[in-house]
């Protein structure tokens, strides 16, 4: 069997299941659970082989499928007596699939509307060029992008010595906190500029992440891809000895 489908199209386990059901032309109300489970696990295995990041939800669904499969293997309990109350182990899954499918279809409608709307141009805001002091918290990805950008700029051959834990995250946390006692705002790139090599940049970066985690600082960005600013979190006054 050859797989030519781009795998990361599947946004979640329900998405993958719907795809498998559609592909095998299965009746959604009567899913051959053993077959589907097998196909589902094959996909997961393939995703793993391709080094795709498998979200935990995919594994939870795999467990659910196997659970249902084992339940179906058990002999039905006196189903003649209460045919209406007999519960199909697949029922909950089918309900979730149908619910999800509905919204997936709505998403298709929205996509159409989006396409139609994009065909209608309106006057652009005359104030768009004005600097707007509207910022949002920079995401982890923004930070990582900033890091990769900095790492790229590091001269490569200059540092070849093996540096032995010269820079620790702990030290960098301290340094940053000290800097932030006097200044309330720092540009992330400036912090990195002071670093002498990769190890120091990484230690600094980890220190920034740590300080965010500790809610000592906030990182903000005025707009996408702009300079990331590090601000002292005033609500969470730092305690430096």
């Amino acid at each position: 069997m050859s797989y030519k489908v781009k795998l990361d199209v599947f946004e979640g386990p329900l998405d993958l299941l719907l795809y498998l059901i559609k592909k095998s032309e299965i009746d959604i109300y009567d899913i051959p659970i053993a077959d589907v489970t097998e196909q589902y696990l094959e996909y997961i295995e393939l995703m793993r082989m391709l080094d795709l990041n498998i979200a935990g939800e995919f594994l939870v669904m795999a467990a659910t499928l196997i659970h249902i499969k084992s339940k179906m293997l058990l002999p039905p309990e006196e189903k003649e007596l209460l045919p209406e109350e007999e519960e199909d182990p697949r029922e909950e899954l089918v309900r979730r699939l149908l619910e999800y499918k509905k919204f997936k279809e709505v998403a298709g409608v929205l996509q159409d509307l989006e396409g139609q709307r994009k065909k209608m141009f309106t006057r652009a805001s005359a104030f768009e060029g004005e600097p707007e002091e509207k910022f949002f918290e920079a995401s982890l990805f923004d930070l990582i992008t900033a890091l990769t950008k900095v790492l790229k700029d590091v001269p490569k051959e200059v540092f070849q010595d093996i540096v032995k834990d010269e820079f620790t995250v702990e030290q960098k946390v301290h340094d940053l906190l000290h800097i932030l006692v006097n200044t309330s705002l720092l540009h992330l790139s400036e912090i990195f500029k002071k670093c002498r090599n990769k190890a120091e940049i990484i230690a600094t970066f980890l220190a920034v992440l740590e300080l965010i985690r500790l809610k000592e600082i906030i990182v903000v960005q005025n707009h996408s891809f702009s300079e990331i600013e590090v601000i002292r979190n005033e609500k969470h006054r730092l305690r430096v000895e």
Binding site: V5, K101, F103, K104, E105, G108, G115, Q116, F121, R123
Partner: protein, 211 residues
């Protein structure tokens, strides 16, 4: 004031505005006219544009009126602005928006239950894009944050109100169908609901290219 003059003023206001103008905003300027008169003038203008095959249309968006270009001119305008259409929302974003739009106000776990995956990142992006907003907190344990769609959501999709979205029941599968006992269900043929043929065209394109 003469009606023709009012018409010019309304046209000018719509022309200048970079966002949908609400009827009461227009009425605030032309206070000697009734809201209905203004509405009539706007539909007159709209009709004139269309009848004369002008480049403009007046569209009711997000509860207001806005001048837009005729959709058939889009390909040229796209060339001018060099938009590739890459600024479209992703599949997960659209799905999440769909759930928020119909289930609002909804909590994050409620959205995640339907999608079957974590929506942290998507929700954040949608809030950054102002398409989703926090509407409050539910008065239950943990006081979870409630999310809903924004005015920008309507503008983005060119909707006048949420009522314009198709009813969930139109998607063939109703809550009742789900509750039906199995032996009754099988007799019903599932016919694709509106829009089912266009779900994830983007994803399909990619699949074709990579094969």
């Amino acid at each position: 004031m003469h009606r023709d003059q009012a018409k010019n003023i309304i046209e000018a206001m719509l022309f200048v505005s970079d966002k949908p103008l609400f009827l009461n905003e227009i009425n605030g300027v032309l206070d000697e006219f009734k809201a209905q008169d203004i509405k009539d003038v706007i539909s007159e203008l709209s009709k004139e544009y269309e009848d004369a095959s002008r480049a403009f249309r007046i569209k009711e968006i997000a509860g207001g009126y806005q001048i837009t270009t005729d959709p058939s001119l889009a390909s040229w305008l796209k060339k001018l602005y060099k938009t590739s259409g890459a600024d479209r929302l992703s599949g997960p974003s659209l799905e999440t928006l769909a759930i928020v739009a119909y289930k609002q106000p909804a909590t994050k776990p409620e959205i995640e239950t339907i999608r079957g995956v974590n929506v942290d990142g998507v929700l954040k992006t949608l809030i950054e894009k102002s398409l989703v907003r926090i509407t409050g907190r539910r008065d239950t344990v943990g006081r979870p944050i409630l999310y809903g769609t924004s005015q920008e959501f309507l503008q983005y999709f060119g909707l006048n109100s949420l009522e314009e979205l198709p009813k969930l029941e139109e998607f063939n599968i109703t809550e009742q169908d789900i509750e039906l006992p199995e032996h009754l269900r099988k007799e019903e043929e599932t016919t694709p609901g509106p829009g089912s043929g266009v779900v994830y065209t983007e994803g399909k394109d990619e699949a074709v290219q990579s094969s």
